[in-house]
Symmetry: C2
Subunit: 396 residues, 2 copies
Amino acid sequence: MIPVEEARAQLFDLVAPLPAETVPLIEASGRVLARDLRANRAQPPFDASAMDGYAIRAEEAVRGAMFKVIGESAAGHGFSGPLGAGQAVRIFTGAPLPAGAGFVVIQEDTQQNGDVMTITADPGTSHNIRPAGSDFAAGATVSAPRRLTPADIALLASMNIADVPVTRRPRVAVLSTGDELVMPGEDPGPDQIIASNSFGLHAMLRELGAEPRLLPIARDTLQSLREAFETAEGADLVVTIGGASVGDHDLVGEAAARFGLERAFYKVAMRPGKPLMAGRMGAAAMVGLPGNPVSAMVCGHVFLAPMIRILLGLDRHVPDLRQAFLAEALSANGPREHYMRAVVRNGEVRAFDRQDSALLTVLSQANALLVRPPHDPPRRAGESIGYLPISRAEGD
Amino acid sequence: MIPVEEARAQLFDLVAPLPAETVPLIEASGRVLARDLRANRAQPPFDASAMDGYAIRAEEAVRGAMFKVIGESAAGHGFSGPLGAGQAVRIFTGAPLPAGAGFVVIQEDTQQNGDVMTITADPGTSHNIRPAGSDFAAGATVSAPRRLTPADIALLASMNIADVPVTRRPRVAVLSTGDELVMPGEDPGPDQIIASNSFGLHAMLRELGAEPRLLPIARDTLQSLREAFETAEGADLVVTIGGASVGDHDLVGEAAARFGLERAFYKVAMRPGKPLMAGRMGAAAMVGLPGNPVSAMVCGHVFLAPMIRILLGLDRHVPDLRQAFLAEALSANGPREHYMRAVVRNGEVRAFDRQDSALLTVLSQANALLVRPPHDPPRRAGESIGYLPISRAEGD
């Protein structure tokens, strides 16, 4: 058995960043920026008013001063002339400051009668001007790689960037194997169950930014598996579920080997999820996950998620564990790293009593995997312990 | 000015859960379950082996015992006959237990010679059987409303649910207004800037589960605004950006009123984001956000996100603030609730020095809004303070 860290390092070596493609800005959120971008202009592009009020010369901003209002500067329609002593220009938030102006008196501190404006209150020391380039200068950089957030999209828009180079989405073929499986909506025989891991992994992969594709269920024959691998053509990553164990009925390894897999087989010192098959199969990376419902999903979080990050051009990154306080004591852990389904709430983490790897109901109720290192000693309630968040849901 | 809580309550009254639609299971992740679902079958549907090994009668599980191997039970292919005393059936993980069996001896504790199997080690007390229905019984419920996670999708699959009733995605029309705006990729005039908020909000709304649609930029004329409102037809929510302030150039309120808006106008005691317009406009809710880049995005997090939750059928839910320790002291807050762009890392929160609401660069670097209640006293470094997470990115 090899430690989780070692298995992860070997899996990481199977994948490399994918090439870039260009998408319109409106489709770029959540995608990973593939190369540095530079602002096509400064923001603001001119000295701009931060408030509604009157633009005047800086030295004239004193209570009681009176001005002749000579024009108006609105957003999109600046005042073209210069501004002299004793003159004011009515100005609105975001509008260009007239040449010569150095102060914006806010509306609330003024009174206008006809074309005469009087400062009626102490205008204070803030000039209420956003200098040109105070948000960013022309040429300012947004650095890759970076998963673009909604705020980034707004920033790129304001830099006048309409098309964005992003890493292509990883194409992941997901293959369930086993004579016992039927698809949801089908009528299972008495010895059959419904394929569920492939659907869960499909959803997880899509959330990670990949482009997953479910292949038809492969039967437990070399012929059926061979056909399945053929339909995986074009994938960057092939994920099989089931048949990665050592039982007599595990044909996936054999079929993959015949299909060109340079195979590595790991018994990983982890619970759930011990058996793992991996290698390169032509242009694709291949990972064989255990068929156990929860094992497959846990391996998805622990192994597939960081592999997708690498394919997306993000760094080789082992997800940092977060810390929470144990709600209940835990007995000593055995020799395998244990990923316990748990709920984190208000900084406290509580592992479920039932940790059998067949229980999807328990996984569905969990929002975290509490991580016990190998041979972790007994832990008391209130101790701090590491966990991996597995659900975005907050109060959903 | 009204407090943020009051503004939020009034906005919440403008929206109600949308009707349900049915989507295939493979498209259901991230959607909100619209009504309770019941399992079409139990899982496992039969007593199943939890290990690879041999099924025997429960009372015969003792070291040294010998058995005649009479057949095999594999996943998908059970052993049809009953199992008598002194008999064993080779069995694999997930396979149905033969009638009469009450124990699975794991492979590692056995030896087989021809058709004779001997238990070579203490088989222990765990019977290695997953009883029928131990994950869930037929008829077990998944309760609505619930935003479906990948684990939920796996669970629904195993319940043999192929089609899922989910709340329809809220259709949100996003309208930027102002003569100063051009679209990204266009060539701005000297007094113009690039529309950015609409792009940022579009990305945010999509992440929240809505179906946003960008309308063409409306110019500062009643005619242009009227045309824009016409193209918003069919939206559940119309979000305008800009023109919600009190300046002379704010025509949006007037145009919306002519278009049937039962208008409410709030000056909300918050920073950034003070002016807010809202009401019902025909079948749609309408919210007018301030045009300031950061104000619009902050209002998106504070107001639009929970409104989308309600439209999706989730509860009226004010996002719980999380707590972190202040990295640096903060001076007393004024009369308005202050949402400060900040970075949370390792349980510590640090507000940016520059909080001007025009700075998108600062928003893009933030992963949280540190929340200062009105009149919050000065805070010392190390004190615990509330924040709203605004980015899913973890180490991205």
